[in-house]
């Protein structure tokens, strides 16, 4: 009954002609949250790899934070999918009976590879020595938790630590293509749906990847700026400036690729172009033109140009970086929204548009999505408690 009422309400919002099964869209806000979260994972990891592989020394203070952020979000990444599909207890069967021809089923393996062989291993080798030291200093459950996490390892000889360092470097080198694979895969899923002209584009994995890098770097920057003062530390301005300039370059690349995709679509002007322009001008105007392009991209780009051109004071720079970080998060979330929801708002007949009405309380509703976006921060705070990313000396700025 409620479904019928919902359907009637939606059908009044339909513009033009639309097939009956297109009125109510199937991929909801949870599917918007999913690429957003995986994007943060991939982006945070890329930032971390800058330190280890490309030897960008200034970024060292964000290295461990970036790894923990990637892990915290990675642990939650499959949750929106499982909630959307239902029966999460069956999800392990995906690994047991692999379907090699399904791109969606292969996600399980991409995820497993990235979580187990890249993130967990890298964090293990990075923290192993510290975990052994900390477990000997602490008591109670924390001691045992650290012992368990270090797999009861005890060797902190120079040779063993050197082995750790070397392994971390190797894993990071493997990790970069893996992070590209992880998020490129998400773009691939959308890009390979050839019946949907809004999605079907070879550019999709690339666009996803660079927006992921942008969002991940911005998220680590925000977290760094929030957590350090909370722990009575001093923000390392050299590091922050460097993170921000990487963010700046990433936004420029991301923006150029998206503009390229846009121009390409306009010039190609396939039969779908009319309905897509109608989509952009009406249903997606707020989320695409205003939030994604103006507030989420051009404004932060402008602010960062201002920071680079004028030598602003430290405090002003911090404030502007913070605002940029927030705006970029907003923009990238809108990007995900525009891809996932936008792609379902127009009819395959190219003659009409429907509307997405978000639930509030249901399993696919706003509150669940909000909870999914908050849980990673809770996990991160536990991880930071257990595995502090900074030593006391580093916090004080020495």
């Amino acid at each position: 009954m409620e479904a019928a009422q919902n359907f009637m309400e939606l059908s009044k919002q339909v513009v033009g002609f639309i097939y009956p099964n297109e009125i109510d869209i199937q991929w909801s806000i949870l599917i918007v949250v999913y690429p957003y979260i995986t994007g943060l994972v991939a982006g945070a990891f890329i930032l971390a790899s800058l330190v280890k592989v490309f030897n960008v020394k200034e970024l060292q203070p964000t290295y461990r934070l970036a790894m923990l952020t990637a892990l915290a979000f990675m642990l939650i990444a499959p949750l929106p999918l499982q909630l959307h599909l239902g029966r999460p207890e069956r999800s392990y069967e995906m690994f047991m009976t692999p379907n090699l021809t399904s791109a969606m089923a292969m996600f399980g393996f991409v995820y497993l590879w990235y979580l187990m062989l890249v993130l967990l291993l890298e964090i293990y080798f990075e923290y192993r020595r510290d975990m052994i030291v900390w477990s000997s200093e602490s008591t109670g459950p924390k001691k045992w938790a650290l012992k368990l996490l270090s797999l009861f390892s005890t060797d902190i000889s120079e040779k063993a630590v050197a082995f750790d360092k070397k392994t971390v470097k190797i894993i990071t080198i493997i990790g970069i293509p893996s992070a590209f694979l992880l998020h490129g895969y998400v773009g691939f899923i959308f890009g390979s749906i050839k019946a949907n002209p809004w999605w079907s584009s070879v550019m999709m994995p690339v666009v996803f990847l660079f927006s992921a890098i942008v969002s991940g770097i911005a998220m680590v920057m925000l977290l760094y700026m929030i957590i350090i003062p909370l722990r009575d530390g001093k923000i390392d301005m050299k590091c922050l400036d460097r993170v921000a300039s990487f963010l700046f370059y990433a936004v420029i690349v991301d923006f150029s690729i998206e503009v390229l995709d846009f121009i390409h679509r306009l010039y190609e002007s396939e039969e779908s172009i009319k309905i897509l322009s109608q989509l952009v001008e009406t249903k997606l105007f707020m989320s695409l033109v205003v939030l994604q392009i103006l507030l989420g991209m051009l404004l932060p780009l402008g602010i960062m140009v201002v920071i680079k051109v004028f030598r602003l004071q430290e405090e002003v720079r911090k404030l502007l970086y913070f605002v940029c970080g927030l705006l970029i998060q907003l923009g990238i979330f809108s990007t995900r929204w525009n891809v996932v929801i936008g792609g379902q708002l127009f009819s395959k007949s190219f003659r009409g548009l429907t509307t997405y009405k978000m639930e509030l309380m249901g399993i696919e509703g706003f509150l669940v999505a909000l909870a999914l976006l908050i849980i990673p921060f809770v996990i991160l705070s536990i991880l930071i408690k257990l595995l502090p990313p900074w030593k006391k000396g580093e916090l004080a700025g020495s």
């Binding site: 097939y19 690994f95 047991m96 009976t97 192993r128 797999l151 009861f152 390892s153 063993a160 750790d164």
Partner: protein
């Protein structure tokens, strides 16, 4: 080989052990818990076939009816419904086949059943016979005029519809569905041979529509207006298109 393991740092061995345990768990689950049908496509197909075969048969199929019923299938074969199977309208009939005297299949006699396919819907193909059930002989069961085994297309003003098919289809779904073309238009015989030079008439006086739609009209059921006060300068069809659904 032994030397190689001795040279490995202890943490690498620990990680390797965890990895091997993980692989072993996956192996055990796959080997002992996952049923074989889920691993082998051929087995899966066989088991789903078994499952389907075990289900009760509901439909008898398209050919079997002819063995007992001679007349209707013969009529149906030459009609527009030739591609519909008997059970599309009469329902699942396997039980009737097994026990022809006691179990009788149903036959839809109400108007709404035919409307599943023939109610006006803009997404149906052009030329598909469609009606508006509210205006097309309301309440009369379809089978009083149409033989469902050989439904013939409407035969009335076929001479007009030969060229004006689109208007005819639109009109069939409108409130004027039951009014013949000749009520409003007079077509000279020559119109058929020189359609562009000899043109049929259109109602050129307001009073023509007023016969049904004026306030004082004796006809019941049609919407009425005060013709003296309603758009007096214009002929009715300058604003109201009489062939379309609703006619507005």
């Amino acid at each position: 080989m032994k030397d190689f393991f001795k040279k490995l740092p202890e943490q690498a061995v620990r990680v390797a052990v965890v990895f091997l345990v993980f692989v072993a768990v996956v192996f055990v689950i796959r080997q002992f818990i996952i049923p074989p049908e889920m691993k082998e496509p051929a087995l899966q197909q066989a088991s789903s076939m078994e499952r389907e075969v075990a289900k009760e048969i509901q439909y008898a199929g398209a050919q079997i009816c002819e063995q007992c019923h001679e007349k209707e299938p013969q009529i149906k074969k030459i009609g527009y419904h030739r591609d519909l199977s008997c059970e599309s309208c009469h329902g699942a009939a396997q039980k009737h086949v097994e026990n022809p005297t006691e179990v009788k299949p149903t036959s839809p006699k109400k108007r709404d059943y035919c409307a599943y396919c023939h109610k006006y819907n803009s997404s149906r193909p052009t030329g598909f016979p469609q009606i508006n059930p509210d205006t097309h002989n309301p309440r009369k069961p379809c089978i009083t005029c149409h033989n469902p085994h050989n439904p013939k297309p409407p035969t009335t003003p076929r001479s007009c519809a030969a060229c004006h098919a689109q208007i005819e289809r639109a009109k069939a779904a409108s409130y004027h569905a039951l009014i013949a073309c000749s009520v409003c238009h007079t077509a000279p015989e020559k119109h058929k041979t020189s359609p562009r030079t000899v043109i049929p008439t259109k109602p050129d006086k307001r009073e023509f529509c007023g016969k049904c739609h004026d306030k004082g009209s004796p006809r019941k059921g049609a919407p009425t207006v005060d013709m003296a006060a309603h758009g007096e300068k214009y002929v009715c069809w300058q604003c109201h298109y009489p062939h379309t659904l609703g006619g507005i």
